[in-house]
Subunit: 157 residues, 2 copies
């Protein structure tokens, strides 16, 4: 029996666990620098730009979605972006991902959004099948560009 | 002589023009439903999540960047996402894109971000060369998934 609920203060450790599980699955676990407090501070500050849903089985966290407010210049309004959709390895293929996506759709409608979007690694066929089952359309793959740290400071000079 | 400045009230039409130019270049001009007022409302509301920079030549807009606040669960903090990086067709290859990227990097540092990220279409070699010149790293291409409208409402049921 899977329950999905909105994250509450105290859920930082559970969210860090699901973030780390997703990073490990995608091969960049060492990139996770966040602390549980970082995640709670962002979730429970005044006017947060992020939100999170936690899936539980018998009271234990088994997966999570972390979303953030995004903006589409084409639509001229806010849309919801899914930053993390994570199911702990031992709980995969039990419907947790679907339950999370359904609950996320409810939050999106509650907030007046009419679209949610996210990225998926091209080789992740299990996830892509889930998303297709949820009604997702797949758009042209894009490259992701990032400028950070010293490169960002050099560019700004 | 290219000047890049932050968007101000009254710049909605200029931003809509650059948004439309980018959409036309990428082949989805019909997807632009935003109005100039939508863009200004989002930019100049209380606690906006978006910002914009406008490049001008002799006082006329020739390009723009629209960015929004994003959140990295890996970093545990906000980062800057570039939604649109657009140069009007007649002003391409004159350094406008580079000037916009430099000004964007300054805004990112001003706001305490240490990373900016965005997506680029894999075939857009001119843009990719500019981004590489700016110090960007290119990450694994991702598929983009979107659930909207009726599909979103069905999923929420």
């Amino acid at each position: 029996m899977i329950i999905v609920r909105k994250a509450m203060p105290g859920d930082g450790d559970a969210l860090l666990k699901t973030t780390r599980a997703l990073a490990a699955f995608q091969g960049y676990e060492n990139a996770v620098k966040a602390s549980a407090a970082d995640l709670e501070n962002a979730l429970f500050c005044k006017d947060p730009i992020i939100g999170a849903l936690i899936a539980e089985e018998q009271g234990a966290p088994v997966g999570a979605v972390v979303w953030h407010r995004s903006f589409s210049t084409n639509a001229g309004k806010e849309v919801m972006y899914l930053e993390d959709i994570s199911v702990l390895p031992a709980f995969k293929r039990k419907g947790v991902g679907k339950a999370l996506m359904q609950a996320t759709a409810r939050v999106a409608l509650e907030r007046g959004y009419d679209a949610i979007f996210w990225m998926v690694l091209p080789w992740n066929d299990v996830a892509k099948k889930l998303y297709a089952d949820c009604g997702a359309e797949f758009e042209t793959p894009h490259d992701i560009c990032r400028i950070k740290g010293d490169a960002l400071r050099r560019l700004a000079q």
